[in-house]
Structure formats: C-alpha cells, structure tokens
C-alpha cells in the first residue's frame, strides 16, 4: 500500500518527540480516523530552528510527520506558513488516497504551532490556519487544546 519512500519516513526517528519549553505548539486530530499529532517548534530570528512531532496514528500519519519536520527545519517562518498537507504528501511521493485526507495532518499541526508562536509573541495569526478548510477532510482542533 505504502511506497518505499513513505516507509522510509515512517521509520525515521530524528525529529520525533517534544521540544521542552517550545516557542510554539500545535495539536490537531482527525475526526475521521482519530489520528492525533502534536508539533512543537523552536523559533529563532523568524526561522524554525528546531521542530519535533509526536504522533498517534497510522503509517501515513507518522511518515507525514517525519517528512514535515525535515521540510521545515531551518525554514523561515514566512515560508513555513505556506506549507500545506498537500506539500507534505507530494514530498512523500504520494499517499494512498484513503489516507490523503485523514492521516496527512502534519502541516496543519505546524500551522497551529506557528499561530501559537505568533499569538504568544503578540502577532496576529496569519498562517495557513484559516485555510484548513481547503483540505476535504474536515479537521477540528484537538480537544486537548
């Protein structure tokens, strides 16, 4: 079902975890399959210096999380704000269609984290947060938040 690339990212452990005292934190859950993702970021000079993610979810979710962290580590915030779930899926070389809109949450969680960072720093949230509805799978914020 999964491509080799997806399986490769599924096994990557580098950016798994949680940054203590993170600058921004975002959690998102998929109501359709219950997958849950928590992204924490450390921001320095408007660049994502470090990013870590925790995932409760299937292979696609875990691989998306790993891919996202690789994509945005070292990226200016302004650029990271336009990263979408589709970008992640594309970077993975595609995901099974039934997974595309339920387990592919990582970018949404990142946008939450960026928004959180901006709020904490007095800025208005202007990232992709408001654009989440473009992804057909209706996402709601994690209850935990």
């Amino acid at each position: 079902m999964y491509t080799e690339k997806v399986m490769e990212y599924f096994t990557k452990q580098e950016n798994v975890g949680e940054i203590p005292d993170a600058d921004g934190e975002g959690t998102i859950t998929s109501p359709t399959c219950g997958d849950l993702m928590k992204v924490t970021i450390r921001v320095k000079d408007d660049v994502i210096e470090d990013v870590k993610v925790k995932t409760f979810g299937c292979g696609a979710a875990i691989a998306s999380a790993a891919m996202l962290t690789e994509l945005v580590k070292g990226m200016p915030l302004s650029e990271a704000m336009s990263v979408t779930n589709m970008d992640v899926a594309e970077a993975l070389g595609g995901l099974p269609s039934q997974k595309l809109h339920c387990s592919n949450l990582a970018a949404d969680a990142l946008q939450e984290a960026i928004a959180d960072y901006k709020e904490r720093n007095g800025n208005e949230a202007t990232g992709q947060r408001g654009k989440r509805k473009e992804v057909p799978c209706q996402l709601e914020e994690a209850k935990g938040k």
């Binding site: 798994v16 849950l36 925790k54 299937c58 292979g59 875990i62």
Partner: protein, 388 residues
C-alpha cells in the same frame, strides 16, 4: 528475514497435500462434471468424494452441501435466498452487531429492499444474549443469522441455545461458521442449525471455494441462475480443483482437530500471557474462555494499530489490526465498538491469529519483538505521558 505469519484469521497457508491434490486434479481430471463422458464422470466422482469429506467434517449428509465460491457467497446466498423465499411469510431478519461484513452489509441491503433487520447487541465479551433473541423474534421473523465465532475477537456464540430458540419459534437459523470450522467441533445436528457457511481458505484449503450447509428440505431462492448445478441451488460450472482442495482440507481438519486445537490453545495462551506480562496498559478483547483456539486480540493503550502492524511487518511478523486505518473505513472495528471498547482502544487493537503452521518459536519471536515496538510508539505518542 525471519517471517512469522500470525494472520490466520485473514487467511491460512495452504496445506501441501491440498496443493498437490489440486494440481493433480487439474492435470488428470479437468472434465466438466455435467458431461456424460469419461472425463466428466471422473470430475463428478472427485466432486462427490469432496462433498462427503465436507459433510463428514460437520456431521451433515453430502446432499446437504452446496459448494460456493467462498464464505461471502454462502452468507449472501442464505441471507438473500431465504428471505426472498419466505418474503410472503414475513420480512423481518435478526442478526448480531458483531457479524462479518458479508452478513452485516447484506443486512443493510435487505433493509434498503423492504426488510426489517434487527442487529442484536452483545455484551462486553462480544456475546449475544439468548434472551435478547427470544424477545426480538416476532411473527414476521423468517431468518436468524448469528456467527459461530467472531473473526476479530474470537468470541464463540451460544449457537445451540440460539438455534433451539429459533426452532421453538419456527424460524430458520443460519450460522456463519467460517472462523469456527476446522478449529472447533462443529456438528450441524448438535448445533441444530438449518444453514451453515464455511470457507476453504480459513482451514488450510484453497481460496475461492466454500460451502453452504442446507438442512434437508430447507428451500431458498438461488443467488445464481443458470444451469441446474448443485441440485438447482447454485448454477455455474463447478470449481472442481477448488472443491477437491476444500474436501481434502476438511478431511485433514477432521482427522487432526483435537491435536490442532490443543496446540493452538497452548500457543495462544502463551502469547496472551506473555504480552500482558511484558507490556503495561494492555487489555484482552473478547471472551476469556469462550474464544477461538487461535485468537489473540489485544488493545494497546496510547498507540495506533496500523503503526504497530507496520513495525511488526518490518520485522517479518504479519498480524491484523482493528484500527480504522486498516479496516478501510472511517470507524475502527465495528466489533470492538459493539463490545463497548472505546474508540481509542479500538484504534490500538491488534489481532494475532495463530495457525497450525505456527510453532513456539514464532510465539517467542513475537514476545521479543512486539514490546519494544509498543514502547517506541508510545514514546512517539502525544497521548502517552507514562514514562516520558
């Protein structure tokens, strides 16, 4: 890589004897059993021997066996055929909420076509309460279908009691015994059922062949129309090599059943005890004692089933999960949900189903491999706060 197959409830490996018998049959007895000539007669003889073997395993008469293309066809055949046959008597069917989709989705089809279907609830172990059945039966009820043993959690239903209630009420009773046949003593007389489904690929036989037991004089509308095969109950040129393979698999099951069961139970209990010992926050799903000899279904808190499954697969171990992601639907296992298991625990369920090809070393390998995987996934899980 060492490969350990523990997904025998999805499908079993095929016995070597079965493969050989099928090859030989295709080579030597390729005829059409409807043909009058020698080639046809040879094929017919093969088929009738197989019919006796299948009947022998479940205590039926050969004429009561209708060969099908598998369990799904047998289930559809009886659900649609009996309700259609008796639709002038009534339009109410009873089944349970933990049936295989071959029954459940056929039930939904019937609902869309003017029938009422009652889906009996189950207790936390997945069992139907006979009293519920008694109350659900009404004057309109024509058919009750309750599975012998559940494919996900292995829970065995009190079929004798359920069938007796139906008989008292003049209602026909079907049991989907696809998971039970080959592992449990199944005797249609003891059970008292009118119809019973079984499938070759769940008992070390071939895929694409199964059977429906039809008690003498029980009538139903056929699912396939065409030639007069199978005493006009199932049209289509018979799958002779498949039928031969099914027959042999049934005969071998018959001979080896007690030994097979003992071995499976020992491995199963070792697996369950070993995992519960080695992993915290685990729960066994299904019935503690009334369960299939080969079934081990556990829920691992804080982790998702597919992720465990894929990690096990990377280490050569094949299992199944009841998580939404593997069931191909939005909901996780309807069986676990019906038993009152939470969505989260249903998401984190794993089914390890043993087979007669497994050995103790396989169990040991799983006991060695799975706990670290659970541990790793818990460390990755935002739900887990245990030992971060």
């Amino acid at each position: 890589m060492r490969r350990v197959y523990m997904d025998n409830s999805a499908t079993t490996p095929v016995r070597q004897e079965v493969i050989e018998a099928m090859s030989e049959c295709m080579k030597d007895d390729f005829g059409n059993p409807s043909s009058l000539h020698w080639f046809g007669r040879q094929a017919r003889r093969r088929m009738e021997t197989a019919r006796e073997q299948v009947a022998g395993l479940i205590g039926a008469e050969p004429e009561e066996i209708v060969f099908t293309s598998g369990g799904t066809e047998a289930d559809n055949m009886v659900m649609k055929g009996v309700t259609q046959q008796l639709r002038h008597k009534g339009r109410h069917v009873i089944t349970s909420s933990v049936e295989h989709h071959a029954i459940l989705h056929t039930g939904e089809y019937l609902e869309k076509n003017g029938f009422d279907v009652t889906y009996l609830a189950v207790d936390e172990h997945g069992r139907v309460d006979p009293d519920h059945l008694r109350h659900a039966i009404g004057p309109q009820t024509t058919l009750v279908s309750i599975m012998l043993a559940n494919n996900e959690v292995g829970t065995i239903q009190p079929i004798e009691e359920l069938a007796a209630i139906c008989r008292e009420n003049g209602v026909l009773f079907h049991t989907d015994a696809v998971q039970g046949v080959g592992q449990l003593d199944v005797d249609v007389e003891t059970l008292g059922v009118d119809f019973l489904s079984l499938s070759g690929h769940k008992l070390y036989g071939p895929k694409g062949v199964g059977a429906l037991y039809v008690r003498r004089n029980r009538r139903f509308q056929p699912l396939f129309h065409g030639g007069g095969h199978e005493r006009r109950r199932r049209a289509g040129t018979e799958n002779i090599p498949g039928i031969v393979g099914l027959g042999l698999a049934c005969q071998l099951s018959h001979e080896e059943l007690p030994e097979r069961r003992e071995k499976l139970v020992a491995m199963r209990d070792g697996l369950i005890a070993g995992l519960i010992e080695r992993v915290e926050d685990v729960q066994l799903n299904g019935h503690p004692s009334e369960r299939l000899p080969n079934n081990c279904n556990l829920s691992f808190n804080y982790v998702e089933g597919e992720a465990m499954l894929l990690n096990l697969d990377l280490q050569g171990i094949a299992v199944a999960s009841g998580s939404a992601c593997t069931s191909g639907s939005i909901e996780p296992s309807h069986v676990l949900l019906a038993m009152g298991v939470s969505r989260e625990l249903a998401q984190g369920s794993l089914r390890l189903s043993l087979g007669s090809f497994n050995c103790t070393e396989d169990v040991d390998y799983v006991l060695e491999t799975l706990p670290p995987i659970v541990d790793k996934l818990r460390q990755m899980s935002p739900l887990y706060h245990g030992k971060e």
